[in-house]
Amino acid sequence: MSASLAAPPRRRLRLSWSDARLRGLVWQVLILGAVALLIWYLARTTAHNLATRHIATGFAFLDHAAPIPIGETLIDYTPSVSSYGRALLIGVLNTLKISIVGCLLATVLGTLIGIGRLAPNWLLARLCGAYVEGLRDIPLLLQLLFWYGLMQTLPAPRRALHPLAGVFLSNRGLRVPALAWRPGDGWVLAAFGIALLGAFLWARHAARRRDATGRGLPLWPAALLVLGLPAMVAIALGAVPGLDRPALHGFNFQGGLLISPEYAALLIGLVVYAASYIAEIVRSGILSVSTGQWEAAQALGLRRGAVLRLVVLPQALRVVVPPMTSQYLNLVKNSSLAVAIGYQDIVSIANTTLNQTGQAIEGIALIMAVYLTISLSISLFMNWYNVRIALVER
């Protein structure tokens, strides 16, 4: 019998319903058969429906010209000239742009609020508590609609708010001065990169030496390197970086860096919402560090801030990382709500694409594939980080 050949030490499969292995085998065959039958049936009906509606399947549409106007692009794009593939790539980049910035800001805000909720100051703790309780119980979509509505009530560009020199806030978004890009700047940027690498190596060397001898090295050479090297290159090339200031031309601003109202509303909404969850994670992480650790650190004469930074937070991090991973995943998935307020992320562009081309299955498969890839990457990265910071026991 084949089962006994595959695993010789195992008991022989009896042809009786009272044999658990045979039962398991039969059930598995039945369940898998039912699922396969369902999939086959759905696939056949779908193929038939597509044929009667004259919809071609496949991803050939990715090469066709896409007449989708896109407001925010990180790479070159011309409507009706560039392909659907490029439009979708811009969608992916826009999703990444909001997700990465959102995760970073939400972590900072969430950590501050989580710590604030445990502050000895009663008013601060209560306000942070109200923030967490209040924002967690209101749907994110509603919050996004509110923030977007708020952006639209800002004055028109002609009467833009002007809080700082060169900064303009209007219903067309936030314009800030940007570094003007000139030919020599590539070298400055390269020098900056080299300086960062050097500083990193210096910091690692200093940490090793501290671990080995108990005496660290000063960190000011690293700071000097990061600031000095690019400045020296810039001066040597005679190219002191200039600013590209926004200015009003006609009905809108030109120049500078634009943060669109859609992006701003989505970013504020996502960060504020995710921070309320992250705050709770941070709080429970801090509470999980035993009181003895606080007391011991205080007995060493550390101040509250130093106790938090040097003793409690590093230990809390171990408890915090796994739930934090799922919050990052949630934030990335929640960024798909962009479609409700007109920020063109992958969902929004894929949705337009499938409406224009009728390629519903391919469009949705693309959306799912993109999110699965991002989710998997975040999971892998956070697992790696989790292993790295885990307590090393015997």
């Binding site: 369940i31 009667t52 008013l123 209040g134 409700a340």
Partner: protein, 379 residues
């Protein structure tokens, strides 16, 4: 007083100051003005709180417009509100539109029916949150109430006119999506969790893992899009499932995957001895699961289940994107009318208050149950 004394003052003010501090003064000193930094933070927060609180009070109450006149044709004249924009809230939009926001396009004269349904839902939730109602009869009550809700909403008997479900809207839709979604997702979740933990059937385990991880890896919107544009392609010609049911199916699939992980956590937390003891008694798999394993495993995760349900309740608002008239969609539609454009904040505040009430009640329940269940572990 010298600086060196100040620390002892904070610890025991009654001793250092001679005259005993009143309780309130002691509380203020220790909780708001313990250190100079704390005092500055307290004062700054107090200032902001009072200032913004007063501004909000002025906007929401003092300068608010509660009613607007109607012209001869019965159309609202929103000029008063426009004049007060930015200064005072226009609650007239709520007074004018609340029936639409709560019940959508349901025939106006028949709106007592969805109103009763909403009350039934709230009654069911309230009863289910009480431990003394946790008996077998509760399931029966749920079944009867859900059938009653369906009958009331559709009508078509005893002189009640038939109302097709594309005319339903507002709060009942939100509650229906959430409740029926959970009711459908829960059995699915239990099966998926059991399947994922089954050791004897690797193929079934793989199937469950694929389902759970695939659904948890993609946003709900993609599932809703799938429901609205892909499901029709799956069905043979002539068969048509309506939009609400398609969204409901997407919700069941979505919630099932998340609940499955919660149930799995409960299964993992159960000591192995329980199922071994059941085996020793000669119970079969289903007897063991239904009588020994699940009752204990689920009890363990009830607070987590409630938290998942809160998230799920909020997520029903996403059907806005595929054009189903739930509470968020009706609210948004109400301000599409030219006369009321620009009064979004008032409507959003109302919607936020409604969602908040439901979610806050649930999160309190969850905290209460957690407290209740941890009684055994506390000393």
């Amino acid at each position: 007083m010298s600086a060196s004394h100040s620390s002892s003052v904070e610890r025991a003010p009654t001793l250092a100051l001679g005259a005993p501090l009143s309780r309130a003064a002691f509380w203020l000193r220790s909780r708001l003005f313990a250190t100079p930094v704390s005092a500055v933070v307290s004062l700054a927060l107090l200032y902001l709180l009072l200032r913004w609180g007063w501004d909000f009070f002025g906007w929401a109450v003092l300068h608010a417009i509660w009613q607007v006149p109607h012209d001869a044709a019965g159309l609202p004249q929103t000029g008063v509100c426009r004049a007060a924009e930015g200064v005072g809230a226009c609650w007239a939009v709520v007074a004018e539109k609340y029936r639409f926001i709560l019940f959508g396009f349901y025939p106006y004269a028949q709106q007592w029916r969805p109103a009763i349904c909403v009350l039934l839902f709230i009654g069911l939730y309230a009863a289910s949150a009480q431990q003394r109602f946790w008996r077998r009869e509760l399931a029966l009550i749920w079944a009867v109430a859900l059938v009653l809700i369906g009958a009331l909403m559709w009508g078509g008997f005893a002189g009640l006119p038939l109302v097709a479900d594309d005319q339903w809207g507002g709060l009942p839709i939100t509650l229906i999506l959430a409740t029926f979604g959970l009711a459908g997702a829960f059995p699915l979740a239990v099966l998926a969790a059991l399947g994922r933990r089954s050791r004897g059937m690797p193929a079934v385990r793989m199937l469950c893992v694929c389902y759970i991880e695939l659904i948890r890896g993609v946003p709900l919107i993609s599932l809703l899009f799938m429901a609205s544009v892909m499901f029709p392609l799956f069905l043979p010609a002539g068969v048509d499932i309506d939009k609400l049911l398609r969204a409901q199916i997407a919700f069941v699939l979505f919630a099932g995957a998340y609940l499955a992980e919660v149930v799995r956590a409960g299964l993992q937390a159960l000591p192995k001895g329980q199922s071994e003891a059941a085996d020793a008694l000669g119970l079969g798999y289903w007897q063991k699961t239904m009588l020994i394993v699940l009752p204990q495993a689920l009890r363990q995760v009830i607070p987590m289940l409630v938290n998942t349900f809160i998230g799920f309740f909020k997520d029903t608002s996403l059907v806005l994107i595929i054009g189903i008239f739930d509470l968020t969609t009706t609210g948004r539609t109400a301000i599409d009318e030219p006369a009321w454009q620009g009064f979004g904040n008032e409507i959003y505040l109302l919607l936020a208050a409604i969602y908040f009430t439901f979610c806050f009640a649930m999160s309190r329940t969850s905290a209460r149950l957690e407290h209740l269940f941890s009684r055994g572990q506390r000393r």
